[in-house]
Amino acid sequence: MISKNKQPSVPDNDRLSAIENSISNLEQKFEAIENGYTNVLNVTKSLAEKIGALKDVLSDKINANEERSSTHEVSQPQVILAPVEVKSKQYEPKIVGFLCNWCSYAGADKAGSAQIPYPTNVRIVKVMCSGRIDPEFILKAFQEGADGVMILACHPGDCHYKEGNYRAAQRYQMLKKLLNQYGIEQDRCYFDYVSAGEGEKFVRLITETVAKVKSLGPLKVLVE
């Protein structure tokens, strides 16, 4: 901001009282911030306590479960939070990645040029625009045995076709809720924006999604 020292002179008293006012304003704000900080501290403390309590409950449950299975009782497995090791180490999820030609596919190429390694689980299906990603494709992928789906679009404002990514984003919001009703976890259908320059982001998203889907285990859609 450019301003020149040609402002009309103002009596010093006025200036002084203006400054005094702003100082008292600032003081009030500081006080408010301090109060907020104390609140946050309290909440954190109580959360930590709750987590501790939860941990105890969980370990009790796991112990109980182990006991039950050792006594060969015929019962349905109850514990959902089974330790991850239970699942086979060999399990490699199949994930279909729907990428748009101009940004996210180019972002994947960028990761290639930079030679950043990432897991091999994602099978890329290229379309011209994320707007072409028909919700039928995503459900089809699940039907055909995909354990997860990724939809990667251009960032808002970057779409080669101006608007396709917005429509993809709107569709995803609906699809996510439908999948939830199907019991398909949110982590199995991931939507994000990747630009042509974001090779590292692409690798990060792939790696994270593969890890998440791996921990969720295989998905079987068509069961009678």
Binding site: E136, F142, Q143, E163, Q170, Y172, L175, L178, V221, V223
Partner: protein, 330 residues
């Protein structure tokens, strides 16, 4: 013995509306009777399964099979009637796409039994008794059909010749099909969907349609829609765009949104996916264009909050044959 061709109508997992649709052809019923012998229709005619079992294979010219396949009895009857019928028609939404019974596919068998027999506020069942396939009583063993984990369509169970959607199919469409068979004209290729319109409900709906852009979605009780304008344009989720025509646009023409009973249009595998594809496209993007990307989901969710039940809205009649046909097992 009558030389008239024999026909049958069977009621599997369904509400009975399909039988009503047969009664609804009014005086044409006389023509049907003049030309066919309705030998098996538990709702209307006295006939026993053993009579059907006694028939030669293919002795029935047409069977209008309505209802979904919910249990082992439905399935047995489907196999039996398939065997005895020349032209097996999956009649009605339940038989063609699972219909409303298939919405149960969103819950497990256990959840369904819990709700129906145990946790329902109007149930008094202190012992928690739920149906068992086999029950031993003093007199011996009692058996009931097996309740399956998922509802299937007829086509997912046996080989079906034709499909006639609708909840129920429009009487006019039934008359068309009967007339077609009577005319001796060449029948459409096997597997065809018959008694339907050419495209979607929109083509038959008389409301005024224009280019679509919606910025709010309303539930039907929230607004009194204009009587002439397309309901979807007014923010009411009308399934007509993604529903096969044939009904003549009955519901939208009386100010009610289409709920999709004729199932997905030709070439569409998944009615709900197409609704999402279309709605996601016509929800006005003007606002999210200038939004930080992390704000977009909440904004869109806010517009969508008036759709409380996606599967129930988008697959009210077609969940069994949808790409993902219900709750997944893991």
């Amino acid at each position: 013995m009558s030389k008239k061709p024999k026909i049958a109508m069977y009621w599997a997992s369904a509400c009975g509306g399909c039988e009503v649709s047969l009664a609804n052809v009014h005086e044409v019923l006389l023509d049907i009777d003049a030309n066919f012998e309705l030998v098996f229709c538990p709702c209307l005619v006295d006939g026993k399964i053993k009579d059907v079992e006694a028939m030669d294979d293919g002795e029935l010219l047409i069977t209008f099979f309505n209802g979904a396949i919910r249990n082992s009895e439905n399935e047995e009857m489907a196999h039996l009637l398939r065997k005895k019928t020349k032209i097996l028609i999956a009649y009605g939404a339940c038989s063609k796409d699972g219909g409303i019974p298939a919405l149960a596919n969103l819950s497990s068998k256990e959840e369904l039994f819990n709700t129906v027999y145990i946790n329902n506020p109007s149930i008094d069942n202190p012992k928690g008794i739920i149906p068992q396939r086999v029950t031993i009583v003093e007199e011996g063993e009692l058996r009931i059909p097996e309740f399956y984990n998922k509802v299937k369509s007829l086509g997912q169970t046996v080989d079906v010749d034709y499909f006639m959607p609708g909840c129920p199919p429009e009487p006019d469409q039934l008359i068309n099909v009967v007339n077609l068979v009577l005319s001796g004209a060449e029948l459409p290729p096997k597997g065809s969907v018959i008694g339907v319109g050419k495209t979607t409900v929109c083509e038959e709906c008389s409301r005024k349609k224009s280019d679509k852009k919606i910025s709010r979605i309303y539930r039907t009780y929230e607004i009194i829609p204009d009587e002439e304008t397309c309901l979807l344009e007014q923010g009411i989720v009308c399934m007509g765009i993604a529903t096969r025509g044939g009904c003549g646009g009955l519901c939208p023409n009386v100010n009610m949104p289409c709920t999709g009973c004729y199932g997905p249009p030709a070439g569409v595998d998944d009615q709900g996916a197409k609704m999402i594809g279309a709605l996601g496209a016509i929800i006005d993007i003007a606002a999210i264009k200038d939004m930080p990307e992390e704000d977009i989901p909440d904004y869109v969710d806010n517009i969508l909050k008036s759709i409380p039940d996606y599967a129930g809205t988008f697959y009210k009649f077609s969940l069994a044959t949808a790409l993902v046909n219900g709750r997944v097992n893991k």
